[in-house]
């Protein structure tokens, strides 16, 4: 097979560096290692890898840093192809699902034979990846959640610095003391602390009060989530925002994280305390040196009964079961987490080293004394739910919705606790049912190649039948047509039709991506889909989103008509309008999240200037979709304008001249000449915008994650979640085919209604 590909490739493209990988010959064992190191950590990892190769000359290691943004996708596709990296970094939240699917190698059998000393790591950290007798990863680093406090603000008010035995009452008291209206304009401009819906950040509050969100048997939330203890804890947290106003409205956690608004407030001495992990440190050190900041770090506050529980987030190096050189891979994983590697990595200050000795060394050399504060927390650290329950992210999302319901929608907390406990129960049961499945152990097998052959044969037969039906002159025409279609058709068969047919096949099967077995499940995926209320919600939202199409088309046509005039500097204006289409989406979405920020954003500023009431934009179930639509319209104007302009160029000037001679007004000319002749272009934009609106994804993924409370959960976001987060490719394919069907009907209607009479003479 590889041969064929090679020949095909060479024939199509004469690129010299086509296969830069094949230069075998020597006897070295080759390993690959993957992590999500940022550019400043890449050299450190490379240094570690180089040292490993120096010590083991018979092994060659290739380090492949992968952007964090799509790290999991990358690992998953590698596993799907049966060619994962030999060693990869895994967040502890991914361990349960990878484990249940038996993807990860049990490292324990190698521990003794290779002489790996497991006592070199904090046992609490190592245990995160332990299940029964098996050990699935060697720990690299971890962090509890701490409180970072701004000493300058404490000093100004004469508030003593918190110590490790402080309580949540102290936390509230200090927050209230340090929340101030500095310029006396009636608006708070210095905040005591911050609170968002982020599960990750609030779970230690629940634990240290003696509560929990799920029972110890990991099966139910009812009776555990909706307790009096938890009610008090959540009320306490929500009061930070709603009653005492000691925490600003910074949007959802992901918006506040991406916009950096909390960081901005903190760096500018406008916020006294934040709860965060060790990873905050590298970004603070320079400012400590330059005196911009004077920070202290203190352990998590104790609960009402002086209880103290912290959480521990960890990552470690794993080896997949199918790694060809298991022993060497385990050696590498052990080295990547060993003393040498930990010491090299500790320079980055990104995390608490899982290596006990190195961690203490870090504490000894830390002139601010922060590392010691982190170490003091270790004994209180508890394993996060995410490292025990598969697909726990979905439960986190549900619980975040619960917080949103109370904070944003003013629902009563008691009711929400009961209601959402049931939702979590259902989800847990669903996850359990789905996970309890025995896969057949089969070899990696790529059916998709057979699908490619099948599709090619079917297409060839169909074309042959068409050709036979053509008679006389039509034959020549058909032959010519086929020749002209050939390149695009081959391309289409390879990249789209085969994957499409394959996904139809998958929709009747179960495929967990990382497991080669794909058992047949009949219509189960479709039945589940129709019974899922969140699925119907996402369809409703998608249809609502379609409203962007007529709005954008009207505005962009108007803009195109204005641009069509030959005015001076119009080329510059066109470029200006096209800018949003080409500017980095990261920059664009960021600016818009700032604009939409309820407390600090430009949108609300403008509203108040003109005397309108403020809106919550992306952070209200009522306005979130509208905000997304406004953003889309803005983004798409330039894009559609370019196509309209091309269409306008196709209208001969003569027709206007004739119309003018007939005495038609510009308005009449527009209706009689421009619009009818522009119809093919308009039709094209209509059809493609409707299709792409049905597929709206990136905007939602970046700006709202489907929230708040599912208000912007759209179809393809749902599909993405099923495929890449839940690893249910069969279910995702079923949804994709349902989408396909809807869009097909819609497009068919458009072709019937509008498309028919676009012929000219």
């Amino acid at each position: 097979m590889k041969r064929t590909g090679l020949i095909l490739a060479l024939a199509l493209l004469l690129a010299p560096t086509l296969f830069s990988q094949d230069n075998g010959g020597d006897e070295k064992i080759k390993l690959t290692v993957v992590n999500w190191a940022g550019i400043h950590e890449v050299p450190l990892t490379q240094q570690i890898v180089d040292e490993f190769m120096r010590r083991h000359p018979h092994i060659e290691v290739v380090f492949q840093p992968t952007p964090d943004a799509q790290y999991e996708n990358k690992i998953l596709t590698g596993l799907a192809a049966g060619e994962p990296p030999d060693v990869f970094l895994l967040d502890s939240k991914s361990i349960p699902s990878f484990n249940n699917k038996k993807v990860l190698l049990d490292l324990n059998p190698y521990v003794d034979s290779l002489g790996v000393d497991t006592t070199q790591w904090f046992s609490r950290v190592t245990d995160i990846a332990r299940e029964d007798d098996a050990l699935y990863s060697f720990p690299k680093g971890f962090t509890p959640l701490m409180v970072y406090y701004n000493k300058k603000l404490f000093d100004k008010e004469g508030v003593p610095y918190p110590t490790n035995d402080w309580t949540r009452d102290d936390y509230l008291r200090i927050s209230r003391r340090l929340t101030k209206d500095l310029d006396g304009d009636g608006e708070t401009d210095q905040y005591g602390t911050n609170f968002t819906n982020y599960f990750f950040n609030w779970i230690p509050w629940v634990w240290s009060a003696g509560g929990d969100v799920i029972g110890p048997d990991e099966k139910k939330a009812s009776g555990y989530l909706n307790t009096e203890t938890n009610r008090k804890t959540f009320q306490y947290l929500i009061d930070l925002r709603k009653k005492y106003d000691v925490a600003p409205d910074v949007g959802s956690w992901s918006q506040s994280g991406k916009t950096g608004i909390v960081r901005a407030l903190f760096l500018n001495n406008k916020m006294a305390m934040i709860v965060d992990g060790h990873w905050r440190i590298p970004g603070m050190l320079d400012y400590m040196e330059s005196g911009v900041l004077d920070l202290g770090v203190v352990g998590f506050p104790r609960g009402p009964d002086s209880g103290k529980v912290n959480v521990m987030y960890e990552s470690g190096y794993c080896v997949p079961v199918i790694a060809p050189h298991k022993k060497e891979a385990v050696m590498l994983a052990a080295f990547m987490t060993g003393e040498y590697a930990s010491r090299v990595r500790s320079q980055s200050r990104l995390e608490l080293s899982a290596h006990i000795e190195v961690a203490h060394e870090m504490a000894r050399t830390d002139k601010y004394g922060w590392e010691q504060k982190f170490l003091d927390e270790v004994e209180y650290c508890r394993q996060p739910w995410g490292s025990r329950i598969e697909r726990f992210t979905e439960i986190e999302m549900i619980l975040q919705d619960m917080i949103d319901e109370v904070i944003l929608n003013d629902k009563p907390l008691d009711d929400m606790l009961d209601e959402y406990a049931v939702k979590v129960d259902d989800k847990l049961e669903h996850i359990r049912e789905n996970a309890s499945f025995e896969f057949k152990q089969i070899e990696q097998h790529t059916e998709v190649v057979e699908f490619l052959l099948g599709v090619t044969v079917v297409v060839a037969i169909l074309l042959f039948i068409l050709y036979r039906r053509a008679k006389g002159r039509d034959r020549a025409k058909t032959r010519f047509g086929f020749v002209f279609l050939a390149p695009s058709m081959i391309h289409l068969i390879f990249f789209l039709i085969t994957p499409m047919v394959f996904s139809l096949y998958l929709s009747f099967h179960r495929w967990d991506i990382v497991v080669p077995d794909k058992p047949f499940v009949g219509f189960d995926n479709y039945i589940e889909m129709f019974n899922d209320p969140t699925f119907w919600n996402s369809i409703g939202n998608t249809f609502l989103y379609l409203l962007n199409v007529p709005v954008t088309m009207t505005i962009s046509l108007a803009v195109a008509l204005m641009m069509h005039k030959r005015l001076g500097g119009i080329g510059f204006l066109r470029t200006l309008y096209f800018l949003p289409s080409v500017t980095s989406f990261v920059a664009i979405s960021l600016v818009w999240m700032w604009i939409y920020n309820p407390q600090y954003g430009l949108a609300n500023y403008m509203l108040t200037v003109f005397g309108f009431p403020k809106l919550d934009w992306l952070n209200s179930t009522d306005t979130a979709m509208m905000s997304v639509i406004i953003f889309t319209v803005w983004l798409q104007i330039g894009y559609q304008m370019v196509i309209f302009l091309a269409g306008l160029q196709g209208i001969p000037d003569e027709l206007y001249e004739v119309a003018r001679i007939d005495g038609a007004s510009p308005w009449k000319q527009f209706w009689r000449v421009t619009l009818p002749l522009l119809k093919p272009t308009t039709f094209f934009i209509l059809v493609t915008s409707v299709i792409s609106s049905f597929q709206i994804f990136t905007t939602i993924y970046v700006m709202t994650q489907g929230g708040p409370v599912g208000a912007t959960d759209v179809f393809v976001y749902h599909i993405y979640d099923a495929a890449w987060n839940q690893l249910r490719m069969g279910y995702a394919s079923a949804m994709a085919w349902f989408l396909f069907f809807i869009v097909l009907v819609f497009t068919g209607i458009q072709f019937k209604l509008v498309g028919k009479n676009v012929d000219y003479s």
Binding site: Q70, R263, F480, P580, A723
Partner: protein, 280 residues
């Protein structure tokens, strides 16, 4: 088009058009300005509160650092190769297919066209895994062919050109046919030259989409030297933090080729005299 002596109300109209366009245009400019100013700031300035637009000192060295912290030269080369192949491939293959659909109209061409259009309805996140598996099976990982694969042809482009070809008056073609011109000749000497605005549009979009693609290049490459500019930009942020000044400096540089390409291509939006000349 007479440009002299417009009546006052038409000049007034022109001014209104200008004002409307410029006002809306300013909003289009905003993220770009933010990106540009961020790229010239220190991190502390980026996080200034309230946000500011003009840096205190212009840190031009951010650009040099952004380009040298990672092998951006190589990324540019890779992205340029991919985009060049994408533009060439799509202009050629899409126009051929569009011609077959719009002008040849052989038996069953409408049905085939419907199949083409229907492939647009499967979202990328669904087809990407099977497509990746195929690419992998054929040994095209870490190769330019694998990278450029999805962009060689494009149904969106075929549809766009088909719509445009439909508007070209039939009489030109008929006249040529009477003169004994072959289909190929009609395609090459009549249809294509008359479709410059549409071809320019397709060129812009194919260039832009290939240049800005992120997920596919990430999935079909393992090696840094086969990565593209967008992957390079993404590398400046991770779960813990984002290096805004360098990320935005890289984004500004990466944006320049698309803008240049757009400025060049949009000249072709202005139709040549040929069209109206031949029409008469």
């Amino acid at each position: 088009m007479s440009t002299t002596r417009k009546p006052w109300y038409r000049r007034f109209g022109t001014v209104l058009v200008y004002i409307a366009l410029i006002l809306l245009g300013l909003s289009m400019l905003m993220p770009f300005i933010w990106m540009l100013s961020t790229s010239l700031m220190t991190e502390l300035e980026v996080y200034n509160f309230p946000p500011k637009f003009i840096p205190d000192t212009w840190r031009w060295e951010n650009f040099i650092e952004a380009m040298t912290l990672q092998p951006f030269g190589r990324y540019f080369l890779n992205s340029a190769i991919i985009s060049a192949v994408a533009v060439t491939g799509q202009l050629l293959f899409c126009s051929m297919a569009a011609y077959a659909f719009a002008r040849v109209k052989f038996i069953g061409s409408d049905k085939i066209f419907a199949v083409y259009i229907s492939t647009m309805m499967i979202p990328m996140i669904v087809w990407i895994i099977p497509a990746f598996l195929l690419v992998n099976t054929f040994g095209l990982m870490n190769s330019y062919l694998g990278l450029v694969g999805p962009w060689i042809s494009n149904v969106w482009g075929i549809f766009l050109l088909r719509q445009f070809f439909l508007t070209i008056p039939k009489d030109l073609e008929d006249a040529a046919r009477i003169d004994g011109a072959s289909e190929l000749r009609i395609f090459w000497t009549i249809i294509l030259p008359l479709s410059k605005p549409a071809l320019a549009t397709l060129a812009i979009f194919s260039f832009m989409n290939a240049w800005k693609d992120f997920l596919w290049p990430l999935i079909v490459t393992n090696q840094t030297n086969m990565r593209t500019v967008e992957v390079g930009i993404a590398n400046f942020s991770n779960v813990y933090s984002t290096d805004w000044p360098h990320q935005m400096a890289a984004a500004v540089i990466v944006l320049l080729p698309i803008i240049i390409f757009f400025v060049i291509a949009q000249k072709h939006f202005v139709r040549g005299i040929t069209f109206s000349g031949m029409k008469g």
